[in-house]
Amino acid sequence: MIIESILNLFLGFIKFVFGWLNLPQFPESLTNVVDTFLDLIFNNVSLLGFFIRPDTIKIVLPVLIIIINFEKLYKFVMWILRKIPILGIE
């Protein structure tokens, strides 16, 4: 209840700040193109499962994303840790 109230308050503030905006939508024809493209890929991705074990993909993919972005992740964590004075990390 308490957390809900705080979040609702925050959301209310956000809506108040951006409430005056009313920008046009992204053109539907373009979104259709993008959707078609994505459909094209994801509708046929099941083929991939024949050549690579799906379980392997599911495990490896997140790990891969983490590894590739490891540097950013490392910097982000260190940035957080530096904010904690008691740790004394420079």
Partner: protein, 634 residues
């Protein structure tokens, strides 16, 4: 251009080829299958479809098995208005010219044309029979869809000019297993009276036949067949794996069709090359059809010889196989559970048999039948009767048809003797009382006395369909137990029960207190999802195109999360010559898993996957090592 870019482009082009339909508006039914619903996108090219481009129905929860077959979409055009109406229809159980006795299905929701699919068990028991003896041509069916029922139409002539069907198979409740027949149904002429799979698979109606030993080839043009019986014949046999078993029984190598008469016919079965090779066996497959005998005799040609005593093997009609079979080619049949008795029952085909006595609820009649006792004189499914290598005159014996689904509640029986009811007018719903079929199911041994217990242990569906008649208490035993345990009657309680009740109340009070305290801080389960979805909607509305990249990102992540690695297959659509509309290459589907039915390939594939796994893991470790060094060096 970088190598990666080239590979990506090639990949995209490849996908574009596979998914060619996405780019064009073709006259196709598209089935969109998810775990909870099936949506059918109707073709919309050039026709008025009454705003039913897309209809969906929910797959019933709790239904253990779905065999959704067949889908028939009849496109009915009125010559007067040139308006095309699309209706799904199940044919087969009723041959009445006016459809008035059609009782098996009701379209019980207004405008919900696919509602019948909610009763797959029923659908499984119906097959195509249009073009029957007393219905000289499909085009002479005259009916209208009114008040959610099919009614005869005497004043307006509707012509059914297209037809098609599809299959779906669901293995477990709400779990999409296999979508069969995903090839698009295209209407490119000529296919008016054929179910689409045939049209698709038998390009331009040309059949290339081989005999069971694959040493003869025959070819004829189906388009010359004006006798509707042929269509019926050809349409009636299929399995649900896109390998259409089409029996051209009674056709010989020298078969000639002239002047509406078949000549040079004798017994035999010929399979269409490439589609029913799984039927290739040392056995001879024959069947006898009283129906066809009549049809063709009427044409003035004596072509049937009932005496097949020279064949030592049993014969059967209909394709019967079970999911329990060791034969990898044999998969779940739409008639899963169909019963076939045979003196010489030979591998690889296994049949399920509901053994011993079963209580059958048929209409208002409740009776016990010991099926084993019936087996000497009663044969099941189709028009077979076999004894000592001879075909029995079916009209002389009672004929029953039992159809059931393993683990299902549906147990149906035809109305009487074959001689009287062969034209299938008498299908009627019936419901078994809910006992679990596998407990007394058997795979019949060669001697009809031995049996083995099938592996299937599915849970029966207790949801009655609309045309099933249930007698007695609808509660399952488990429901009865649960309901009895939750009784609030305390009049018979002892002192221990009261003490237990006090402790129960105390513990529930503490639990409620903790729940209340937790609720102060922890939001409801749906809070975050509702909040963020609402926020997403709000931002989309307010920020418009600026928010689209975020929306797209979420969309992509959702797609990744919901990737379905089900069946590795792709479809090749019809290749149609644009000027004449002639179909050059029929659409076809290729499922990579079909390759794995071969044991050698399956082993190779498994080894391949292990190697790929190894490569991926070692590459990952190498990447990890390099990355670690890179980070630490900075």
């Amino acid at each position: 251009m970088k190598l990666q870019t080239k590979i990506l482009l090639i990949f995209i082009l490849f996908l574009a080829f596979l998914n060619k339909e996405s780019f064009g508006a073709m006259d196709t039914f598209t089935f969109n299958v998810s775990s909870t619903s099936v949506t059918v996108d109707m073709p919309y090219s050039g026709v008025n479809i009454e705003n039913i481009e897309s209809k969906s129905f929910t797959i019933g929860s709790g239904i253990t098995k779905h065999y959704l077959i067949p889908y028939h979409f009849l496109i009915i055009s009125s010559s007067a208005t040139n308006v095309y109406l699309y209706y799904p229809i199940i044919t087969g159980s009723y041959l009445n010219t006016d459809f008035t006795n059609r009782v098996a299905f009701t379209f019980n929701t207004g405008n919900s044309y696919l509602n019948w699919l909610y009763m797959p068990e029923n659908a499984a028991n119906h097959y195509i029979t249009y073009g029957a003896t007393n219905l000289p041509g499909f085009v002479e069916y005259k009916y209208n869809f009114n008040n959610n029922t099919w009614e005869a139409t005497n004043s307006t002539t509707y012509t059914i000019n297209k037809s098609a069907f599809k299959y779906l198979k669901y293995a477990t409740a709400n779990v999409y297993n296999t979508y069969i027949g995903s090839d698009s149904i295209s209407f490119t002429g000529k296919g008016a009276y054929f179910p689409s799979p045939l049209v698709d698979k038998i390009d331009l109606f040309e059949l290339n036949l081989t005999d069971k030993d694959n040493n003869q080839q025959h070819k004829f043009n189906l388009a010359t067949f004006s006798d509707s019986a042929c269509y019926d014949e050809l349409m009636g046999y299929y399995n649900n794996d896109n390998r259409y078993a089409i029996y051209l029984t009674d056709y010989t190598a020298d078969m000639v069709y002239t002047d509406n008469t078949y000549t040079n016919l004798s017994y035999g079965s010929y399979n269409i090359s490439g589609y029913i090779d799984f039927l290739t066996t040392d056995n001879s497959f024959f069947y006898y059809s009283e129906y066809y005998n009549k049809v063709l005799s009427n044409s003035g040609t004596k072509i049937f010889n009932k005496d097949i005593s020279n064949y030592t093997k049993r014969f059967y009609f209909n394709i019967v196989y079970s999911e329990d079979s060791n034969d990898t080619n044999v998969e779940i049949s739409e008639y899963n559970g169909n019963l076939l008795l045979s003196d010489d029952y030979t591998e690889p085909y296994k049949c399920y048999f509901i053994g011993s006595s079963q209580t059958i609820y048929y209409a208002n009649e409740k009776s016990n039948h010991n099926i084993k006792d019936l087996s000497d004189s009663i044969y099941y499914l189709g028009y077979i009767d076999g004894e000592n290598g001879k075909v029995r005159d079916i009209s002389e014996v009672p004929f029953y048809v039992y159809n059931f689904t393993l683990g299902g509640n549906y147990f149906k029986r035809s109305t009487g003797s074959l001689g009287e009811s062969h034209n299938t007018g008498g299908w009627s719903g019936g419901g078994r009382s809910g006992e679990d079929v596998p407990d007394n199911s058997y795979i019949i041994g060669d001697d009809k006395t031995t049996s083995t217990y099938p592996k299937d242990t599915v849970t029966p569906d207790t949801t009655p369909d609309n045309d099933s008649i249930y007698i007695g208490d609808d509660r399952t035993p488990q429901q009865e137990i649960n309901e009895d345990n939750t009784s609030s009657d305390t009049s018979n309680w002892g002192i221990l029960d009261f003490i237990k009740g006090i402790f129960d109340n105390i513990s529930s009070f503490v639990a409620n207190l903790l729940d209340g305290f937790t609720g102060l801080f922890v939001p409801d389960d749906d809070f975050f999802s509702n909040t963020f979805s609402g926020l997403d909607e709000w931002f989309t509305g307010r920020l418009g195109f600026i928010f689209y990249p975020f929306d797209l990102t979420v969309n992509i992540f959702n797609r990744i999360v919901n990737i379905d690695f089900g069946e590795p297959r792709f479809e090749i659509p019809d290749i149609i010559e644009p000027t004449t509309g002639k179909k050059l290459i029929a659409s076809r589907e290729f499922n990579f898993n079909d390759i794995l039915q071969n044991e050698t390939f399956a082993n190779l594939h498994e080894i391949y996957l292990i190697i790929v796994d190894g490569i991926i893991v070692f590459a990952l470790i190498n990447l990890l090592k390099n990355k670690f060094g890179e980070v630490m060096s900075k």
